[in-house]
């Protein structure tokens, strides 16, 4: 019976991919796959909190496939960006997120799209999880008119609904995020703001100013420190007198989370979201994660850390591999199914890269637009007194 089903499924799946149609093929019946399973997750260290998240997380097949697909999409998108950068098709700043996928995907799984999120410059992954498409992200990196910011922002300045970028000034996004949280509370829509920063930014004064006000005014703000062990070329030990970033909020409860495990991140985010929505004020999460690339494309990333270290994380803690192993060993998906997702993702990335390299650059007419919102057209001085350029809202 099983063999017959396998044959039928292979035939069906074969025909689906030959047509090129993107059909979600669950040709093997649901009875074959485990619909959901419970997994042990690492215990989170807590600070001024009664309890951390539960030590077990339930993952359904659908969730698993979705997390896998999204993480793989981020991974491949970032690797493609690396390629395009080396070909000089992407220029300027490019801060890649590969290795940290579980953070973006896990956080989004713990909140709603109607919530708000802001991060720093390592933002491509979040632009995707917050509703951007690979096409518009890549076209923004290549500076084309089809980019998510029409080519005017670049890598560090991408925005979608309820996603406030993409911010280039280290730490500046943290007060902004608390401001978004203030608006959430003010407007009374039971929304919250996730406000991310790195281990390097964690020492910024304005972050402590923000902790103070967020706590005083009980703003629904989840502060998240993505600790990838290095602030550019400076390891955490060399930058911070206290590397317990989850405790640095002092009077703000905190938890330290395994940022390589998407389930751990999700469960912690759910706990944090519940905390905020119940009106208790802000909470702080430290995600212990790792970036495979250097700080940016101009940093090889091996002068301040060893190749061995990078390799060790890749082989032992890769977030995508971890999820894949969990699903396969619990019969929640088949190898072929996951491979198929890989193929689809690769295709999506290729299509996006194709678009990003062929879409034309923004028209020169657009140069002076978008200075002011809701304003009548105005004149902008060009490079010399005789050049008067037009600017519309």
């Amino acid at each position: 019976m099983r063999k017959m089903l396998t044959i039928i499924s292979n035939v069906l799946r074969g025909s689906a991919s030959r047509n090129g149609a993107r059909v979600v093929v669950s040709a093997r019946t649901y009875a074959d796959f485990t619909p959901q399973a419970s997994f042990d997750i690492k215990k989170c260290d807590v600070h001024k909190l009664e309890e951390g998240p539960p030590l077990q997380a339930v993952l359904t097949r659908e969730e698993g496939l979705q997390y896998y697909r999204t993480m793989q999409t981020i991974r491949r998108m970032e690797l493609k960006a690396d390629q395009l950068y080396k070909q000089k098709i992407i220029r300027g700043f490019c801060h890649l997120y590969d290795g940290q996928e579980a953070c973006a995907v896990g956080i989004e799984a713990g909140i709603n799209l109607s919530d708000h999120l802001i991060t720093a410059y390592r933002a491509h992954g979040y632009t995707l999880t917050r509703g951007g498409t690979v096409r518009e992200i890549m076209a923004e990196l290549t500076g084309r008119r089809g980019g998510i910011a029409k080519g005017k922002g670049g890598s560090m300045h991408m925005y979608t609904k309820h996603f406030y970028g993409g911010n280039g000034i280290v730490g500046a996004q943290v007060p902004l995020g608390a401001g978004v949280a203030l608006a959430c509370k003010y407007l009374g829509k039971n929304e919250l703001c996730v406000c991310l920063y790195g281990d390097g930014a964690a020492n910024q004064g304005q972050i402590f100013e923000t902790y103070n006000m967020a706590s005083l005014w009980k703003l629904p703000c989840i502060f998240i420190c993505e600790n990838n062990k290095y602030g550019m070329g400076t390891s955490v030990e060399r930058a911070a007198a206290s590397t317990d970033y989850y405790k640095r909020g002092d009077f703000i409860p905190g938890l330290r989370v395994d940022g390589m495990d998407v389930l751990c991140v999700r469960e912690a985010t759910k706990l944090a979201a519940e905390h905020c929505r119940s009106g208790k004020g802000p909470i702080l999460m430290e995600l212990q994660t790792y970036r495979y690339h250097g700080h940016s494309m101009s940093d090889p990333g091996i002068s301040y850390r060893t190749r061995d270290e990078i390799q060790e994380v890749r082989s032992k803690s890769d977030p995508i591999s971890m999820l894949k192993d969990r699903m396969l060993s619990n019969n929640m998906a088949s190898v072929e199914e996951l491979k198929e997702i890989d193929v689809e993702v690769r295709k999506e990335i290729e299509d996006a890269a194709q678009f990003a390299t062929t879409d034309p650059e923004p028209p020169l007419d657009d140069l002076c637009n978008h200075i002011f919102y809701n304003d009548p057209p105005m004149e902008v001085r060009g490079t010399n007194p005789w050049t008067k350029l037009k600017s519309i809202s």
Partner: protein, 357 residues
């Protein structure tokens, strides 16, 4: 306590608390700049629920300079928020709130302290609409006293008009009179873009006449348009904020000598109303700018450069000049401070030199 002098038709004058004065027919009030700002904020807070005020001492203290007096009592904690002394933090919070749909008024106790937060004003507020190609607007007002005061010395006396006026993405406004304060603040609050609103501490207590039209709840002064405060034919004086008073005083003195000065109140620093200045120069053929800030790379420098580059240059009969603050940090002793900012005699001197009289 703010009070106002009411002029009755009979010619009698009496003094009453500002909010309860009723006159028979011609409702010509004397209102201080402070009260004009207060009323403007009050009306805009009432008109739009998304408007709120935050800053140091704005709520329970009634404002460091009493500009927000009575607002906390009326609107409460949600809309009038006292902040800790953390400019960078609360300015960033204000910008974030604006991004998420509110309309904050962020008060800096003086603009000197805005330097601590200037990254949020420029990089987070001013540039965002452009960087996002129109996806993310930032409807925020940054307001507070700017420029020299009296005896507050170097760290508390800087004029920031030129610094903020330099940056695209910002609107920068500098009111002089109570009417300016009222109309421009209302426009600033209703504007969907970041507006830097430069007040002047020494002007807060100065009363001005305010017509009925100006008192109406929807009285707005358009941002970007200068006003001719005094018509003249011999020379154009361009100024902003408190210096407009000095220009008018200088003009009054010179009028006795037969020199008629046209005094332009810029009202807005950015976008600069170059056209108004050019039109005036085409009539008077002479230009002197007057500002309280430092000369290098200042407001006057920009105006003169634009006049050079524009059609009005050919109408100048002598080089345009600037009257500015002295190029030093502000000293404390009264005699030194008095000589660090333009005085009426300095303006008169420069006018006469320009006119070669």
């Amino acid at each position: 306590m703010a009070s106002l002098r009411c002029f009755l038709r009979s010619g009698k004058v009496f003094v009453v608390p500002c909010d309860i004065c009723i006159i028979n027919s011609i409702l010509l009030l004397q209102v201080t700049v402070r009260d004009a700002l207060n009323q403007a904020m009050d009306e805009e807070l009432e008109r739009d629920e998304r408007v709120f005020l935050l800053g140091e001492e704005v709520a329970q203290y009634d404002g460091a300079y009493k500009v927000s007096r009575g607002l906390w009592k009326k609107y409460g904690d949600k809309r009038i928020i006292d902040t800790p002394i953390t400019e960078m933090g609360f300015a960033g919070i204000a910008v974030g709130a604006a991004m998420a749909g509110l309309r904050p008024i962020c008060e800096f106790m003086t603009f000197n302290f805005s330097m601590q937060a200037i990254d949020q004003v420029i990089n987070s507020a001013a540039k965002t609409y452009y960087m996002s190609a129109g996806l993310q607007s930032v409807p925020i007002v940054f307001r507070g006293p700017n420029g020299a005061s009296a005896g507050v010395a170097a760290q508390h006396s800087q004029c920031f008009a030129a610094w903020y006026g330099h940056c695209p993405g910002l609107k920068v406004v500098s009111p002089w009179s109570a009417e300016d304060a009222r109309g421009l603040l209302k426009s600033a609050i209703r504007d969907d873009n970041p507006v830097v609103f430069l007040e002047n501490e020494l002007m807060y207590g100065v009363p001005f006449e305010m017509s009925e039209e100006v008192q109406s709840k929807d009285f707005l002064i358009p941002i970007g348009k200068a006003k001719i405060e005094r018509q003249g034919t011999h020379i154009t004086l361009v100024s902003h904020s408190r210096m407009v008073s000095l220009c008018l005083d200088a003009a009054a003195v010179l009028a006795k000598e037969g020199i008629e000065c046209e005094v332009i109140n810029m009202r807005t620093i950015r976008p600069l109303d170059a056209e108004a200045i050019e039109t005036s120069i085409m009539k008077t053929n002479h230009l002197v700018t007057v500002e309280g800030g430092w000369p290098q790379f200042g407001i006057g420098a920009e105006i003169l450069a634009r006049i050079m580059e524009g059609p009005a240059f050919n109408y100048l009969d002598s080089p345009a000049v600037r009257v500015t603050g002295v190029d030093i940090p502000m000293p404390y002793a009264k005699i030194l401070e008095d000589n660090s900012v333009p005085q009426i005699k300095d303006i008169i001197f420069s006018i006469k030199k320009t006119l070669n009289v």
